[in-house]
C-alpha cells in the first residue's frame, strides 16, 4: 500500500462521487459541479503519477494539469453561460425537464 495507491484511490472515489452526482441530480449546475469533480479527480491522477512516476524531471504531469485547469475554467464559464441562457428560455434549470431533443 504505497502512497501512490492512496492518491489513486482518492481520485477514483472522487471520480465516482462526481459521476454519481452528475447522473443523479436534477439541477444542471450540480451536474456541472459533478463534472468539475471528475476533472479534478483526473488532475489528481496526473499529479500523483508525476510525483511517483519513473521520470519526474520531465514536468509533463504538472504542465498537463495546468492546461487542464485552464481548460476547465473555460468550460465552466461557457457551461454556466449556457445554463443561464437555458434558464432564461425554459424558466427552469432542471435537466430532466429540458428534453426537447426527445426522439
Amino acid at each position: 500500500m504505497t502512497p501512490l495507491h492512496g492518491y489513486l484511490l482518492i481520485s477514483a472515489m472522487l471520480f465516482a462521487i462526481g459521476l454519481g452526482g452528475a447522473i443523479t441530480r436534477r439541477n444542471a449546475i450540480i451536474v456541472l459541479i459533478g463534472i468539475e469533480l471528475m476533472l479534478n479527480a483526473a488532475n489528481l491522477n496526473f499529479i500523483a503519477f508525476w510525483r511517483f512516476g519513473p521520470n519526474p524531471e520531465a514536468l509533463t504531469g504538472i504542465v498537463f494539469v495546468i492546461f487542464s485547469i485552464a481548460v476547465a475554467a473555460a468550460e465552466a464559464a461557457v457551461g454556466l453561460g449556457l445554463i443561464i441562457s437555458i434558464y432564461r428560455h425554459y424558466k427552469t434549470a432542471n435537466v430532466d425537464q429540458i428534453d426537447s431533443m426527445k426522439g
Binding site: 459521476l19 452528475a22 447522473i23 443523479t24 451536474v31 435537466v95 430532466d96 429540458i98 428534453d99 426537447s100 431533443m101 426527445k102 426522439g103
Partner: protein
Amino acid sequence: MDWVARNLWLIPVLPLLAAGLSALAKQRHRGFAAGLAIGSMGVSLALSCVAFATAVSHSGTELSRQVVNFRWFELGEGWVKLGWVLDPLTAMMLVMVCFVGLLIFIYSTGYMAHDENFTRFFCFLSLFAAGMLGLIIANSLLLFFICWEIVGLTSYLLIGFWYHKPAAAAAAKKAFITTRIGDLAFLIGIVWLYAQAGTLLFYDNGQGCLEKPALASLATQVTSVGMAVPTAIALLIFCGAVGKSGQLPLHVWLPDAMEGPTPVSALIHAATMVAAGVFLVARVYPLMALGPAGGQVTSTALMVITWIGALTAVFAASIAVAQDDIKRILAYSTVSQLGFMMMGLGVGGVAVGMFHLITHAFFKALLFMGAGSVIHGCNDEQDVRCMGGLRKFMPITFATYAIGMMALSGVPIFFSGFWSKDEILHAAHNWPVTHLPFYLGILGALLTAFYMTRQVAYVFFGNCRLSLGKTTASEQRTVAHAGVSAREHPQVELPAEPHESPGAMVFPLVVLAFFSVVLGFLGTPAWPWMQRFLEGEHAPVQPGMLGNSGVLSVMVTSAVIAFLGIGLGYWLYGRRALESQQKDVLEQWWPNVFTLLRRKYYVDEIYEWAFVGLNAWWARACDWMDRWVWESIVQLLGALVVGLAWVDRVLDEQVVNRGFDEACRSISGGGGLFSRFQNGRVQNYLRALGLGLVVLVLLLIWGCRAS
C-alpha cells in the same frame, strides 16, 4: 554579409508599420495616411536600391546570394525556420516593386482624392506592399506562402474597396475564391515538399530545399502513379502560380478584378501581384527544372508551364480583341502577357521570363494609369465606344499612353516590350521539344498589336463621342457607388469637357513612359546585361549578336508581326472616325466569332453550367435513388408483409390474427423501447457513458488477468 543583407527585413516591415499606423488613423487624416504610405515606400525604395547595388557589385561572386535564416518556433522536435535572401532575382524584383509601387501611391493621391475612404485605401495599399515585398525577400516557402496569402487578402479587400457596388463585391469574392483553388494545391505542394525535403528554406548553405543535396534526393523518388515526385510537387506549386497569375483555366477572376479602383488594377493586377505567380516559378526554378532523372532534358513541369503559358497568351489576347471596357482590354492583355512570361520561363529559363516581367510591369502599369487618367478625365466613363478624340484634350496622357501601347505591342528597337518579347520568341524558337509554342507566341504578338491599336484608335482618335449632357450607364453606376464622394465630385454631376488629369497623376505617367522605353536596352541581345545578371555572370557588349542569323530572323519576324498588327488595326479602326452607336467592324464581318470572343469564350458560363449543373444532376440522382431504390425496397417489404398476411388469412383466420397482432405489438414495443433510449435527457446519455466506462475497465482488467 553586408549591412543591407542583414537588414533586408526592413524593406517589407516599413510599409507594414505604415499600414498599422494608418489603420489606427481616423478617416479624415488623409494627409497622414498618404504621407506615411509614400514615405515608407520611399525609404523602402532607397533600401532596395542599396540592395540592388550590392547585388550588382557581388554579381558572379560567391556573395551573390546572401541568406539570413532564423528560428521561428519549436514544433515537436524540430524548429520551424524562416529567413530572407538577397540575390539578383530578389534585388531586381525589389527595385521594380518599390519603384512602381511608389509611383502608383503618388498617382492614387490624385485619383482617390475625392473618395471618403482615402485613409482605408492607403492602409490597404501599404499592407499590400508589405506582403509583396515580404514575398520577394522570403527565403522560406512558408514565409512565401504567408505573404502570398496576405497579398491575396489585400487584393480581395482592394477589389471590393467599393463594396457597396454589388459588382465589386462579387468580383472580390470571385477573385478570392478562384485564387484559393490554386492556393489549396500550392499548400498541398508545400506540405509534400516539407515531408520530402524536411525543410522549406530555399537556401540554407547546403540544407535548403533548392540546393543540390535535397534536389538530388528528391529526383530519385517516384510516386505511386509513376510520376516523379519533384514533378508532382512542382506542378502542385505551379497551380498556385496559375491561380495568382490568372493562367488558364483560373484566369476568370482577373478581368472582373477591374471593378476595383484603377490604381489597384495598375499596381496589383498588372504590375506586381499577378506577377508574383511568375516570380514563384522563377524562385523555385531549380525544382521546376528538375527532370525525372534530374538530367538536363526539359522537365515535364516546364513543358506544362510552357504550354499553359502559350495557350493563355493566345486565348486572352483573342478575347481582348472584342472587349469594350477600356480596363477589361488591358486586363486581358495582362493575362496574355503573363502567359508570355510563363512561356518564357518554360522555354528559356528564369532570365527570359523575368526580363519580360520587369518590362511588362512598367509599361502595363503605365497603360493602366493612363487608362485611369482617361477615365478620370471622362467623368468615370469606361466604355471605349463612348470616348474618342481625346488626344486633343489630354495630350500628355495620349503621348505616354501611346508609348506604353507601342511598348506592349512590341514596336522595334526603341521600346522595351520589343526586346523582352523578342527574347521569349527567340527562346521558344530554339526550344528543343517543339516549335508550336513559338507560333502561338507569334499569333499572340499579332493579336496584341492589333487590339492595342484598336483601343488607341477608339479612345484617342476620331472625334469626341463623349455623351455630354445625358449621363451614361457607367456614370449612373459611378454616382451610385461613389456615395458621398459623388457629391464631392464636381465633374460627376454634369459631365464637363474631358480634361487633363492633375499633376500627381500625370507625373508618374511620364516617369513610367521614360522607363518603359529605356529599360529595353538592358536586355538586348547585343548587351544582355539583365539576363547575365540574373544568371550571375558579366555581360559583354557584342553588337555582332544582332547580326546572328537566328536572332536576326526572329527579331525581323516579330517586328514584322508588330507592324502587321498595328497596320491591320489602323486600317480597320483608325482610318475613319468611329460612331458611338455603330457596330464594331469585326462584328459586322463575323458576328458569331465576335460574340464568342466578347463573351470570353463563354468560360464563365461554362463554369456556371458545369458546377451548378453538376449539383443539380447529383440532386436528381439522389432523388432518383430515393424515389426508386429505397422506395421500392420499402414497397417490396410492405408488399411482402401484406402478402404474408393475406396468405395467413387464407390459411387460417384464428392463428394468424393472433400471431400477426402479436408480431405487430412486439414490433411497436421494440420501437418504443428503442425510442425510450433517445429521451433527450442528458443524464441518460451520461449514464450510458458511465456504463460503457465500467464495462471497458472490466474488459481491461480481464485482459490483464488473461495475459
